[in-house]
């Protein structure tokens, strides 16, 4: 249940760490699992200066985002329980998001952590394939 001003964790290696939602795509007020949002990067991974920078602990981080960047993202985990068609409710421990480009492709090349099954839509097939575990 992410809306304007909500903070979310970024679980790919695009460089961003924490992100604040500024808009929910599709006109809805609230973004849930599998929805696209527009967000601002509030906290990003420090970018090493020059070529001989420190070995990134984040396994070849694709540092494309820095603090203050505006980018799109896909909501993959919400604390708010979400009802599935078989009647079960699923809820996570945190709100998490995967950064996207404007075309809808993920900005990072790795997804860390669990991703909800709701993200398995045709548009986000790339993310579904990157995810280590879908629950």
């Amino acid at each position: 249940m992410l809306l304007l001003k909500s903070f979310a964790k970024v679980i790919d290696n695009s460089g961003a760490l924490v992100v604040e939602v500024i808009n929910v795509m599709g006109g809805a007020r609230v973004a849930s699992l599998g929805d696209e949002v527009v967000c601002v990067v509030k906290k990003a991974r420090p970018v090493a200066q020059g070529e001989g920078g420190s070995t990134s602990a984040s396994s070849n981080a694709v540092s494309k985002l820095k603090k203050g960047d505006v980018a799109r993202a896909l909501v993959v985990r919400t604390v708010q329980p979400v009802r599935r068609l078989d009647g079960t409710f699923v809820k996570f421990d945190d709100n998490a998001v995967v950064m996207l480009s404007k075309q809808g492709t993920p900005l990072g090349n790795r997804v860390l952590g669990v991703v909800a099954l709701e993200a398995r839509q045709k548009r986000w097939a790339k993310i579904a394939s990157l995810a280590p575990k879908m629950v």
Partner: protein, 194 residues
């Protein structure tokens, strides 16, 4: 109901209505049939051990990506309070731990009896087996005795024959005959040089 070949709509006949399948009925009523045919699987509550039927309970996925199924708010609340189910005496974990109700379970278990069936074997048809089974014990004993006596006789004859052969060999041999030779071993090859 859409009629084949006509560009018009006709009302359902009683027979058609009666023969509607479940999927068709659901679609007509506006429901999504796939809801009812999804994974119908009774899960087990990770806290209490009770069965979770579809439509009940919550799935809580922790930060370490382990998922926990909880059947109701009671279990959910206790789970989040990090209370151990093994300390609550209404949970299955507790009951199993303290071996409650196991006597009832044991008595309920029905023992399975396997039925032994006679089968024919290569070398003995089913009838032959049955006939042998039906033989009277005295008859069997007498048959065995007869067979034993017969084999004894045969043995005796063979032994005598062997003895006769040996005596012939002995007679044919000259000089010293070793013990082994008398038993029928080959002749010893004498050394010609030293």
């Amino acid at each position: 109901m859409r009629v084949e070949g006509y560009e018009t709509w006709r009302p359902w006949t009683l027979e058609q209505l009666n023969n509607l399948t479940l999927t068709a009925t659901l679609t007509i009523l506006g429901a999504n049939p796939s809801i009812f045919f999804q994974n119908y699987r009774t899960e087990i509550c990770n806290f209490s051990g009770f069965k979770i039927y579809p439509g009940h309970g919550k799935t809580y996925i922790k930060a370490d990506s382990r998922s926990y199924r909880l059947i109701n708010g009671k279990c959910e609340s206790l789970f989040l309070q990090r209370i151990k189910p093994s300390k609550l005496d209404w949970t299955i974990v507790f009951r199993r731990l303290h071996k409650k109700g196991q006597a009832e379970e044991a008595s309920k278990k029905r023992s399975r009896r396997t039925v032994k069936a006679q089968r024919a074997v290569v070398g003995a048809t089913l009838d032959a087996i049955k006939a042998k089974k039906a033989q009277k014990p005295e008859l069997r004993a007498s048959l065995r005795a007869a067979a034993a006596a017969k084999s004894k006789e045969a043995k005796k004859v063979a032994q005598e024959k062997k003895k006769a052969e040996l005596s012939q060999v002995k007679a044919a041999q000259k000089g010293n005959i070793s013990k082994q030779q008398s038993k029928g071993a080959g002749k010893k090859i004498q050394a010609t040089s030293r």
